[in-house]
Symmetry: C2
Subunit: 438 residues, 2 copies
C-alpha cells in the first residue's frame, strides 16, 4: 500500500496530513512453528513497512505448544481451574512475540513485543474462553511513532482485576481483528495454512474454488459451520467495526479472500459456499405438552448446559390434540452431557419419548436471499434425492440452508451441491488491490 492523503487534512505541516496506511498481520501457529519461519514473517513484516505501511504483527503460540502446556496442567489436575490454565497457556504466545520482535531486530528493523496485559487487551473473566471488551491502542501508537513494528501476543488478555485470560481456540484471530478495530487499521491480514476461503473444502470437493471476497454475514455463517478458517468471534468484531479482513496463505504471495461489507464485494455472487459438520446427532422430543414458552424453556436449559444447538424445529399438533414435537441437532460429543437433563425435562412435560439419531452430517449452503427464494431449497433437496441421498432434516434462513444427511454421504453431497449451484464459476472480479480500502 502506498501512503495516502487523508480525506480532511487537519492543518499543520504538510507531512502531518500524510497518514501512513496501517496493516495488522496475524500469523498462526504453523507460521511461527520454528525459528526459520519466524525469520520469514519478520521479513514479510519489514517488507510491508518498507513499502510505507505502519505494521502491527499478531502471533499465536508455536504449533503444538498450547496443547503441550495444557497437557501439563491436566497432569496435575484432571479438571484444572480456568484461571491457572490461562496463566500457563498464555506463555505460548509470550515466547513467540519476543522471538518475533528479536527476529525483526535481527533483520535490521525496530520492534517491541506487547503482551495482553501490557496494552492492555481487556476481557471479561470467562477463563479459557474470554471475550475481548476493549483494546488500548496507546502503547502500539507510541511504538509505531518510533518506527517500530509492534508485535502483539494473540489469544491472551487480562480481566479488569488483572487476571490473565485466554480467548479460546483460534483466539489470535480475534486479537488481530480487535487490534485492527482499535487502531482503525486499513486491513487485517490473517496468514494461515490455507489459501483463503473456499466454496467447498477442496480435499472433499476438488472443484472447490477460492473466493475473492465474501461479506461478513456469510463468513460468519461459514465460520460457525465448521469452515475452520477464522474464529467466529473475530468475524463478529470485524463486522461490528467494519474491519476489512484478508485471509491468505503464509506460504505464498497470492491474494487470498477478502472479508468485507457487502457493498465492497469484488464479485457479484449470491451463493458463497458449502460447509459441512460431521458427527451430528438429531434429538426429537415427541409428544410434549403444548404450552407457551416451551421452546424458550428448552433453549435456556440447553444454554445452561453450554450445548451448541442448531436446526431447532418446533411443530405443533392438531388443535384437538395439542402435542408438540421438537427436534434439534447437536454435536455428538455434547450429547452425553445433555442427555440426563433432557430426559428430566421430558418427564416434566409428560412427553412420550426422546428419539436420537446419530451419525449424521449437516451440510450447509451459505448465500444471500436463501429464504426468499424457495427454489433454492427445492433444488437442493431434489438434487440430493435424485442421487440417492436421503435428506432427514432441513432448515432455512436468510443466509443459509442446512440439511441433515448420513455422515457417510456428506462428502458426496458437498460435491453434488457444488455442481448443482455452479459454485466453481466465478463472476469476473475487479483486481483485488484496488479494492483494498484506503
Amino acid at each position: 500500500m502506498k501512503p495516502t492523503e487523508t480525506e480532511t487534512p487537519i492543518g499543520g505541516l504538510p507531512f502531518k496530513s500524510r497518514r501512513r496506511p496501517l496493516i495488522v498481520k496475524k500469523f498462526g501457529g504453523t507460521s511461527v512453528a520454528n525459528i526459520d519461519r519466524i525469520r520469514r514473517i519478520a521479513r514479510l513484516a519489514l517488507e510491508s513497512q518498507r513499502e510505507g505501511n505502519d505494521v502491527v504483527v499478531v502471533v499465536s503460540a508455536m504449533s503444538g505448544e498450547t496443547d503441550r502446556l495444557l497437557k501439563l496442567a491436566h497432569q496435575v489436575l484432571p479438571l484444572p481451574e480456568g484461571r491457572e490454565m490461562d496463566v500457563i497457556a498464555a506463555t505460548g504466545e509470550q515466547v513467540t512475540v519476543a522471538l518475533t520482535a528479536l527476529a525483526i531486530q535481527a533483520e535490521g528493523g525496530k520492534s517491541s513485543s506487547f503482551l495482553g496485559h501490557q496494552l492492555p487487551v481487556i476481557t471479561d473473566s470467562a477463563f479459557t474462553r474470554a471475550r475481548i471488551q476493549c483494546v488500548e491502542q496507546g502503547p502500539i501508537r507510541e511504538a509505531l511513532a518510533r518506527g517500530q513494528i509492534a508485535v502483539v501476543a494473540g489469544f491472551q488478555g487480562v480481566d479488569p482485576r488483572n487476571n490473565i485470560t485466554t480467548l479460546g481456540r483460534g483466539g489470535s484471530d480475534t486479537t488481530a481483528v480487535a487490534v485492527a478495530a482499535a487502531l482503525g487499521a486499513d486491513v487485517c491480514e490473517i496468514y494461515t495454512d490455507v489459501e483463503g476461503v473456499f466454496t467447498a473444502d477442496p480435499r472433499v470437493c476438488p472443484a472447490g474454488s477460492k473466493l475473492k471476497s465474501i461479506p461478513y454475514e456469510e463468513m460468519l455463517e461459514l465460520a460457525s459451520l465448521g469452515a475452520k478458517v477464522l474464529q467466529v468471534r473475530s468475524v463478529e468484531i470485524a463486522m461490528k467495526y467494519n474491519v476489512p479482513v484478508h485471509v491468505r496463505s503464509s506460504f505464498s504471495d497470492e491474494e487470498g479472500t477478502l472479508i468485507v461489507p457487502r457493498d465492497k464485494m469484488l464479485e457479484s455472487r449470491r451463493l458463497m459456499g458449502l460447509a459441512c459438520e460431521k458427527g451430528q446427532v438429531r434429538v426429537e422430543l415427541i409428544g410434549a405438552e403444548c404450552r407457551p414458552g416451551l421452546v424458550a424453556e428448552l433453549t435456556y436449559l440447553l444454554a445452561d448446559l453450554n450445548v451448541s444447538v442448531d436446526m431447532l424445529c418446533h411443530s405443533r399438533g392438531a388443535v384437538e390434540n395439542p402435542r408438540a414435537d421438537i427436534s434439534f441437532t447437536l454435536p455428538e460429543g455434547e450429547l452425553r452431557r445433555a442427555q440426563p437433563s433432557l430426559e428430566q425435562f421430558l418427564g416434566k412435560l409428560g412427553a412420550t419419548g426422546l428419539q436420537i439419531s446419530t451419525d449424521l452430517a449437516k451440510v450447509t449452503l451459505v448465500g444471500i436471499g436463501l429464504r426468499s427464494d424457495p427454489g433454492i431449497a427445492a433444488r437442493l433437496c431434489r438434487s440430493l434425492t435424485q442421487q440417492g441421498i436421503h435428506v432427514s432434516g432441513l432448515s432455512v434462513n436468510e443466509l443459509r440452508i442446512s440439511c441433515l444427511v448420513e455422515s457417510g454421504a456428506a462428502d458426496r453431497a458437498i460435491c453434488i451441491l457444488h455442481e448443482t449451484f455452479e459454485l466453481a464459476g466465478e463472476a469476473p472480479a475487479e483486481p483485488l488491490a484496488s479494492a483494498t480500502p484506503a
Copy 2:
C-alpha cells in the same frame, strides 16, 4: 510454627488479637523439575498451613527451562535485546506458579498464582539483571485472608512502565526475601539442593560442616565469593529488612542454616567458613604516573566496563621516583572485555607495562574481626606456605581474608585452612526451634 499472640493486641474480638505466623517458602528449579516434585512441594506447603501458618510459596522455573528459553532467543539473535529476553525468560516461572497452584488444589487446598506484574513486584529497568524496588503486598494479603496459599513467580518483575524484567541468576531467592520483607514474614525458607551453608564445600573438603547459623554480613561475603547458595542481592535485602532466612534442603526435613542478625546467632563462632573462586586473573599496572585520583579513575573505568574487580592493591614508589604499582583481580571471562580499555588507560599514564597472571584461584576465609587480629592472616599464609602452596596476593578486611593461589592448588588450600582454623568444630548451639523469631 504455632499461632502466636501479638505483643500489643489492638482491641476487638479475641481472635483478632491472634496473628498467624507467616512463612515464605522458596523452591528452586530442581524442586519443581517435574510434576511429582511439584506435588511434593504442594504437600509441604499445605502441611505448614495446617500447622497454623499463613504460607506464601515462591517458585523458580523448572530446572533447565530458563536455559532452553534463552537459547531460543540466542538462536534468533546472538546478542538479543534485554527487554525481549526477559519476556521470554519470565515464561518459565509463569508455568511453574500455575502448576504449583493447581497441585495445591489437587491436594485439597486453596491457592492462587501471582506473576511479577500482578502483585506487582516493581523493579528498575535494567533488563536481565533488574533490582527490586518494592513489592505490593495487597494481593497476597487478600489471598491469605481467603485461606489460600499464595504462589508467587520468582525471578520476575515489572518496571514502572510495565515492561517485564528479570532479576538475573538466582533471582527467585531475591523475590522470596523481598516478598518476606514486604509482608513482615516470620521466616523466609529457601529450599535448595544443598543442606545449608557449609564451612567449606564438602565436595572439596570432606571435613566441611553445616553451619547452624550465620550473620547476614558474613553470608554476604560468602555469597559474593562463589558459595552459590543464595543470590547476593537476596542477602542484602534480608539484612536491610531484618528477614530471618532459613536455607534448607528440598529433599530432607533436617534443619538447614539460619541467616540472622548477629545478636540472634545460635552459636558463638568467630570464623564462618571458606569460599573459593577459580578462574581468576591478576592484572598489574606497572610504573604508572603517581597522581592524585589515579585509583578513582581506574575504578570508574572498570565500573563502566561492568567488570567485577577485587583485591585491588595500590603501592606507591619512593619519593625520589614516585611511580605507582596497581594490581587487582577479575574473572578470566571478563578480561577480554576489559583489556583494550586498560591498555589505553596505561598509555595515558605513561605506565611501563601491563602484567597479567592467569589461572589463579581466590581462597577466602570469612569471619569477624579479621583485620584487627593480624595473627589470622599470618597463620593463613604460613600454613599454606609450609605445605608448598605459594600465596601470590593477600587482601584483608574486617570480614574476610582473601589470598591468591594457583588454581590447581585451590582445593588443597581449602582443606589445609579448614583444618588450620578448626572450622569443623562447632560451638554448642541452642536448639534451632526456639530461635525462630516470633
